[in-house]
C-alpha cells in the first residue's frame, strides 16, 4: 500500500512538471493554431541556460528561473515576429514543417555549441527529501511541482483577467474582429509565442534540476507535451494540469505494474484512444 502511495506521489510530482511543459505548447496551439514542434528544443535550451548559469556563475537554479524565462521569451518573440509571422496564413502542414526545421536547427546548434555530453544541474540540496503521509518526497521535485503549478495558474489568471490576455483570446477566437477592435496581431502573436517559449524555458529550468539533459531531449518532450495537450484539451489552460497529472500518474503506475519499457506504450496508447473517443480532450465539450 505504501508502495502504491509512493508511486502515486511520484506520478503527481512528475505530472506537475509535465503540465508546465505542455502549457506553452497548448497556449501557442490554441491561440496561433501552430503546433510548435520546436517546443521541446525550447525546453532543452532553457535547461542549458540554467546549467551554464549554475556551473559558470554559481546561480541557484531556482533563482535562475526568471532569467531562463526571459531569454527564451526573447528567442520566441523574435522567431515569431521575423519568421513564423511570414506563414501564419499558410496551410497547417507548412507551419508544422517549419517548426520542425527550427527544432532541427536548434538541436544541432546545441550539439555543436554545448557538445552531446549529458549534463546535470546539481545544487547542494539536490539529495534532500522529506516525508509526507508516509511517502518520501524529494525536495527539488516538490519545489519544481509547486513552481510549475504556480506558473500555470498565473498564466491562467493573466489570460482571463488582463488586457493582454483578452487580446490574446480575441485573436484566438476571431482574428478579423480582433483587428477591428484595434488589436495588432503581429505583436500579440509574437508576445504569445514568446510567452509559450518562456514557459518552455521555465519547464527546462525545472527539468534540468530533476533530470539529466543533453541536446536531444527535445523531441521526446515535444511528443509528451502533445499528448498532454490533447488529453487535457486546448479549451482551458487548466486542462493541461489534468492532462499532466493524469499522464504522470499513468506512467508511474505502468512502470510499477507492467514494466518501465511499457510506459511510452501506455501514454501514447491513451493518446490515440483519447483522440478517437474524445477529440476535444478529457475536459473538452463534445460537439
Amino acid at each position: 500500500m505504501s508502495l502504491l502511495l509512493q508511486i502515486i506521489v511520484n506520478g503527481i510530482l512528475l505530472g506537475g512538471l509535465y503540465a508546465l511543459m505542455a502549457l506553452g505548447l497548448a497556449l501557442v496551439w490554441g491561440v496561433l493554431n501552430i503546433v510548435n514542434l520546436a517546443h521541446g528544443a525550447f525546453i532543452m535550451l532553457g535547461a542549458y541556460v540554467s546549467y551554464y548559469l549554475f556551473t559558470l556563475l554559481h546561480v541557484d537554479p531556482f533563482a535562475a528561473l526568471p532569467l531562463c524565462m526571459l531569454s527564451l521569451f526573447a528567442l520566441g518573440y523574435l522567431l515569431q515576429r521575423n519568421v513564423l509571422n511570414l506563414l501564419v496564413r499558410a496551410p497547417m502542414f507548412n507551419t508544422l514543417l517549419i517548426t520542425f526545421g527550427i527544432d532541427v536547427v536548434l538541436t544541432y546548434l546545441a550539439q555543436i555549441v554545448f557538445s552531446a555530453d549529458f549534463r546535470v544541474v546539481n545544487p547542494s540540496y539536490a539529495g534532500s527529501n522529506f516525508t509526507l503521509l508516509g511517502a518520501t518526497v524529494p525536495l527539488v521535485r516538490a519545489l519544481a511541482f509547486a513552481i510549475a503549478l504556480g506558473l500555470t495558474v498565473t498564466v491562467w489568471l493573466v489570460l482571463a483577467h488582463t488586457r493582454l490576455g483578452r487580446a490574446v483570446r480575441a485573436c484566438a477566437q476571431n482574428l478579423l474582429a480582433a483587428r477591428l477592435y484595434g488589436v495588432e496581431p503581429r505583436t500579440v502573436y509574437a508576445l504569445t509565442f514568446g510567452l509559450g517559449a518562456a514557459l518552455a524555458g521555465a519547464a527546462g529550468n525545472l527539468y534540468g534540476v530533476v533530470s539529466q539533459i543533453n541536446p536531444y531531449i527535445g523531441d521526446a518532450l515535444t511528443a509528451k507535451s502533445f499528448a498532454i495537450s490533447i488529453i487535457g484539451g486546448l479549451d482551458n489552460p487548466l486542462g493541461v494540469v489534468v492532462g499532466g497529472l493524469f499522464l504522470g500518474t499513468l506512467e508511474s503506475l505502468t512502470s510499477l505494474y507492467v514494466g518501465s519499457t511499457y510506459s511510452d506504450v501506455a501514454s501514447f496508447g491513451v493518446l490515440v484512444l483519447v483522440l478517437i473517443l474524445r477529440p476535444k480532450g478529457l475536459l473538452g465539450r463534445t460537439t
Binding site: 506563414l87 514543417l97 536547427v105 502533445f226 490533447i230
Partner: protein, 316 residues
C-alpha cells in the same frame, strides 16, 4: 505538361541509374541504394500525404513492420528473403487497414499526431517482443552483393512511381484529390471516402514496408530504434514536399537532391548535414511552399516575383 522529350529523357535517366553498378565505385552504389530507398519512402508518403492530403507522421511504422516481418521470417523461421518480404508487406497492409479505420477519421493536426504517437508506441511494443529480439534486435543472414540490393531498390522505386502515375490519372486518384481539397464535398459527390483513404494508406504502407524489408536484409541488422526512427518519417515528408507533394516525379527529385547535398555535407561534419537540413526546411517552406515542381512550372513566367507572391499570400 508532358512535352516531346519527357519519355525519352525519363528512359535515359533510368538506363543511367540501372547501369550504375557497372560503372560507379562501391561507395556510390551504397549511397545510391540508401537514396533509392528514401525516394521510395517519399513516393509512398506522396500517396497518402500528397494525393489524399493526410499528413501521416507514422509511415515509418510500415517501414519498421516490413523490416521486422522480413527479419523474423528469415531468422526465426529460416524462410527465403522473397517470402519474408511478402510476409512483411502483408503485415504492413493489414496493419494499415486495421489502424487506418479509426485513425483516418481524424483530420489535420489530430491525424498527424495520432500517427506520430503510433510510431512511438510501436517502438515500445516491438522492444518487448521476444520473437523480434526485444530491444537488442535481430541479425539477418549476410548477403554481400551491393549491386543486387541497388537494382532491387531501383525496381521498387520504379514500381511505386508507376503506381503513383496510375493514381494520378485514375478515378481512384481523382477521388483522393477530391478528398484532399474538400472531404465533405467529396463524400457528397459520391466518393467512398473511407474506402479511398484506407486504400491510399494501405498502398503507402505496402511500398514503405518493402523498402524496410530490403533495407533490413541489406544491412543485415534491425533494432527497434532504427526500424521505427521518427527522423526517417520526417525525412520522407521533407523530401516529398521539397520536390513537390501531389506530383509524380517531385518526391523522387526531392529525395535525390536532398540526400546528395546532405551526404556531401556529412563528409565534413555530421552535425552540419542535419543543421543544413533544418535550414533548407525553414527557407523552402517560406519561399517555395509548393515545392520544386511548382517552382519550375511558374518561375519562368513570374521570375523573382514568384517568391514575393508566396510570401504575400501567407504572411500575417
Amino acid at each position: 505538361m508532358i512535352g516531346r522529350y519527357y519519355w525519352p529523357t525519363l528512359a535515359a535517366v533510368l538506363v543511367v541509374f540501372a547501369a550504375l553498378p557497372w560503372i560507379a565505385p562501391p561507395v556510390l552504389i551504397q549511397f545510391g541504394t540508401t537514396t533509392l530507398l528514401l525516394a521510395t519512402l517519399a513516393q509512398s508518403w506522396n500517396i497518402i500525404g500528397g494525393y489524399a492530403g493526410y499528413a501521416s507522421f507514422g509511415n515509418s511504422v510500415f517501414y519498421g513492420i516490413g523490416g521486422y516481418g522480413t527479419a523474423v521470417a528469415m531468422v526465426q523461421f529460416n524462410l527465403p528473403f522473397g517470402i519474408g518480404l511478402l510476409i512483411g508487406s502483408l503485415l504492413a497492409v493489414v496493419f494499415a487497414l486495421l489502424l487506418g479505420l479509426p485513425v483516418l477519421r481524424l483530420r489535420g493536426h489530430y491525424f498527424a499526431i495520432a500517427t506520430l504517437a503510433l510510431a512511438e508506441a510501436m517502438t515500445g511494443v516491438v522492444s518487448n517482443l521476444d520473437i523480434a529480439g526485444r530491444n537488442i534486435g535481430l541479425v539477418l543472414p549476410l548477403r554481400k552483393d551491393d549491386a543486387f540490393f541497388y537494382e532491387l531498390s531501383l525496381g521498387l522505386v520504379v514500381l511505386v512511381t508507376l503506381a503513383v502515375f496510375w493514381i494520378s490519372r485514375s478515378r481512384f486518384g481523382f477521388g483522393l484529390i477530391a478528398i484532399r481539397e474538400d472531404e465533405d464535398a467529396a463524400g457528397v459527390m459520391g466518393v467512398n471516402t473511407t474506402l479511398y483513404k484506407s486504400t491510399a494508406f494501405a498502398l503507402a504502407g505496402l511500398f514503405s514496408a518493402m523498402a524496410g524489408g530490403i533495407h533490413a536484409y541489406w544491412i543485415t541488422f534491425i533494432d527497434p530504434a532504427s526500424a521505427f526512427d521518427i527522423t526517417l518519417n520526417v525525412m520522407m515528408i521533407i523530401m516529398a514536399i521539397f520536390g513537390g507533394a501531389g506530383t509524380i516525379l517531385g518526391p523522387l527529385v526531392g529525395a535525390v537532391l536532398l540526400a546528395s547535398i546532405s551526404e556531401v555535407l556529412a563528409t565534413e561534419v555530421s552535425a552540419m548535414a542535419s543543421l543544413f537540413f533544418g535550414l533548407v526546411i525553414v527557407v523552402a517552406v517560406i519561399f517555395m511552399p509548393r515545392g520544386l515542381a511548382d517552382l519550375t512550372r511558374r518561375f519562368p513566367g513570374l521570375g523573382w516575383r514568384y517568391f514575393r507572391e508566396n510570401l504575400r499570400l501567407h504572411r500575417l
